[in-house]
């Protein structure tokens, strides 16, 4: 289900423009300018779909807040910039958002590279930044600063979650991930946890295709030659979709248990081509989240954006609501009080109760793991009987966090 001519994006930009005009006219009428939320994210390039979802999720939250009277009596406006996955452009725009637009909150981009640059700026300018997509553990560990928050489980947490979920199923494991740092780190976090969960298990084959590899055939045959019982995959997006399609005729999914991170975008793209019986790990699977609030959210989201909410939309929505809640409690949008309020928050969100750990500002969000099955309600497959691996079981201990900062 593609979303063409996404009207919300234009309305966002129009709103930014209208906000500027409104600002001028309102200055005479009442001296209440809007609270600005800034996001510089990768709207051009391979991650464009995820960035778009982030904006939709923020939009949804902001509309709800404004409809209920705004935040602290003021309207909330979203300012959107395209960082094109280029760190220098991301930093440029984030600087502009901070110094010219005077945003009260930054939402992070999709790519880790750009996120690192923006996090540094947030620290120096003392503006809170909430990450809703990138999850390199370095952000919360060595590169931590008090204005940083994350509502995504970190790469470390996700590797451990998968190890916990599938570790006991076999003794021989294979790994495939794109040849970039995140995959190598992901594997590095996976291995010790796997040993912990299942001392006799080991990773017998590792494949690192290049990022954006269109043809994984050689890697598929490499994995299959080694005959691992389980393959843990760090592939994502178009790479993952391509891999699944190419591996199917080889009978790959009959011969080995395949366990991978999936984004909703991948499920939607694969449709009926998605094999059954795959172990999937997701960050915010809308179909597995329960509660009236979630149903309401999905219904409104679909009506507005003509698609189901992806993980990014849900997480960004929650980030915005968390900020709104914290600001309301603090009675201001000034950075330090807001940061303190977020630290102390108990937010009843779409994924459940969310709070942040003081030491690394990591939200205690779970990892969702389930097995793929068809679902008559949707034109794509879902993961059934998803279990939540709670953050507390898999996040780095305080000692580990502190050790990484000392290094």
């Amino acid at each position: 289900m593609t979303s063409r001519f996404n009207p919300s994006r234009r309305t966002v930009l129009a709103m930014g423009g209208a906000g500027a005009v409104a600002l001028a006219s309102r200055a005479w009428a009442q001296s209440k300018d809007p609270i600005k939320i800034g996001i510089a994210t990768d709207l051009t390039g391979i991650a464009a779909a995820y960035a778009n979802s982030q904006i939709n999720g923020l939009r949804q939250a902001i509309d709800e807040i404004n409809a209920a009277g705004g935040l602290l009596g003021r309207e909330v406006a979203l300012v959107v910039r395209d960082s094109q996955a280029k760190p220098d452009l991301g930093v440029s725009h984030a600087r502009d958002l901070i110094t010219s637009e005077k945003v009260s909150l930054l939402i992070g981009p999709v790519s880790s590279g750009v996120a690192l640059g923006i996090s540094t700026l947030a620290k120096q300018n003392k503006v809170p930044v909430i990450m809703t997509a990138p999850n390199t553990p370095r952000l919360a560990m060595e590169l931590f600063h008090p204005y940083f928050f994350s509502v995504v489980p970190s790469g470390l947490m996700e590797s451990r979650a998968i190890a916990a979920a599938i570790g006991k199923k076999a003794r021989s494991f294979g790994f495939i991930g794109a040849d970039y740092e995140a995959s190598h780190q992901g594997l590095a976090y996976f291995k010790p946890w796997l040993k912990k969960v299942n001392p006799g298990a080991e990773v017998t084959v590792e494949s690192f295709p290049k990022l954006g590899e269109p043809d994984h055939t050689s890697y598929i045959t490499q994995l299959m030659s080694a005959r691992p019982e389980v393959v843990f995959s760090y592939l994502w997006g178009a790479d993952l979709v391509g891999f699944v399609k190419q591996a199917k005729p080889y009978g790959f999914f009959d011969r080995t248990i395949f366990a991978s991170m999936f984004f909703f975008d991948d499920l939607r793209a694969l449709g009926a081509d998605m094999p059954d019986g795959i172990v999937g790990q997701m960050r915010a699977p809308f179909f597995a989240l329960e509660g009236a609030r979630m149903e309401e959210f999905t219904k409104n989201y679909r009506a507005k954006f003509n698609e189901y909410p992806a993980d990014w939309a849900i997480m960004s929505y929650e980030a915005m609501q968390i900020f709104a809640l914290a600001s309301t409690k603090a009675g201001t949008v000034d950075s330090d009080p807001v940061v303190g309020a977020i630290e102390a928050i108990q937010y009843d969100g779409l994924r459940g109760q969310i709070s942040f750990r003081k030491e690394d500002h990591q939200a205690n969000v779970p990892s969702f793991i389930g097995t793929s099955v068809p679902d008559p309600a949707y034109p794509f497959k879902v993961f059934g009987s998803m279990s939540r691996i709670p953050a507390e079981e898999i996040w780095p201990s305080i000692e580990e966090v502190e050790a990484s900062r000392r290094a």
Partner: protein, 311 residues
């Protein structure tokens, strides 16, 4: 003899105007100008090998990135001050340029282009894999000292360094060395016949250009407060090429104009448009179609490179 002085006065006036900017412009535009200075230096250094010497290099970003990583590694892994890193940047970039130049400058034309592309991508791969040293594809942060944090200080540092380097480049181009390069570009065969060791000159130009690119990269790293692998890719190498072509090949100010155009256009287009590539592509298309000789040809009276002609 007033003619030779007019362009120099114009330059001094220009620099003075730029020096006054921190009093007028808000921080965002100052940062944008810093980015502009960096790219102006980067593109001008590229013009030394491409416009002046006729070598279509596709690995110029390798030296640019090397400069940034030198500063980053010096600061993060060796604990050296950032300014020292900036001094080391052109040295490291120069060594790398010497090595790559030594291998490559025996080929020419499209072969040279592809060879430099391949070598550049190999360097990129090595850098991305050496996580311990370079931070892999997350990049390596550069902790900027407190005195350098205010945007005004950074601005003046970038302005001074770039003006000095560009002035140096100008000197080089207007020296016998520069004239030899011009002769090589126009007709390498003929140059060889009059006794110029073409390969040696090309390698020298390659190294000088690489060093200047290294300085630009070092500044970029300081401005970004990080070095990252995207600085080393072929798409990054394509930027000075496009800037030079759009601005005006073989003119001294062409690359600077091209850099200014790109940096400013890119920023505003990605701030306001849903389809930045489309806008950017159309602008470039218009320049190619209606401004042969690049944007600098609008100021065609300002012919600042002696003996240079459009090929």
């Amino acid at each position: 003899m007033t003619r030779p002085y007019a362009p120099i006065l114009a330059c001094i006036a220009g620099v003075a105007l730029l020096a006054a900017m921190p009093l007028i412009l808000p921080a965002t535009y100052l940062y944008l100008l810093v980015g502009l200075f960096v790219m102006a230096l980067f593109a001008s250094s590229y013009n030394l090998v491409f416009g002046m010497t006729g070598l279509l290099s596709f690995c110029h970003a390798t030296f640019y990135g090397a400069g940034a990583y030198t500063v980053a590694i010096a600061a993060s892994r060796l604990g050296l001050p950032v300014l020292l890193g900036l001094v080391l940047a052109p040295l490291c970039a120069g060594v790398l340029a010497a090595a790559i130049g030594w291998i490559s400058v025996r080929t020419k034309g499209i072969q040279f282009a592809m060879l430099t592309l391949a070598l550049g991508q190999l360097v990129y791969t090595v850098v991305v894999r050496q996580y311990r040293l370079t931070g892999g594809d997350d990049g390596l942060p550069i902790a900027v000292p407190d005195w350098l944090s205010p945007v005004t200080t950074l601005y003046y540092l970038a302005l001074c360094v770039c003006v000095l380097c560009l002035a140096g480049l100008w000197r080089v181009l207007h020296s016998p060395f520069g004239e030899a390069l011009a002769a090589i570009r126009q007709n390498a065969e003929r140059a060889r016949f009059i006794g110029i060791n073409v390969v040696a000159y090309q390698r020298a130009a390659f190294v000088i250009a690489g060093m200047l690119a290294g300085v630009a990269g070092g500044l970029r790293g300081i401005e970004q407060q990080a070095a990252y692998p995207a600085l080393l890719t072929w798409t990054q190498s394509a930027e000075p090429l496009l800037m030079t072509l759009a601005g005006g090949l073989t003119t001294f100010f062409g690359p600077i104009i091209g850099a200014a155009l790109f940096v400013v256009l890119n920023f505003f287009v990605t701030a306001s448009f849903e389809y930045p590539l489309l806008v950017f592509g159309v602008v470039m298309l218009l320049i190619v179609l209606f401004l042969p000789g690049g944007v600098a040809s609008l100021f065609s009276r300002v012919r600042l490179v002696r003996g240079a002609s459009e090929t």
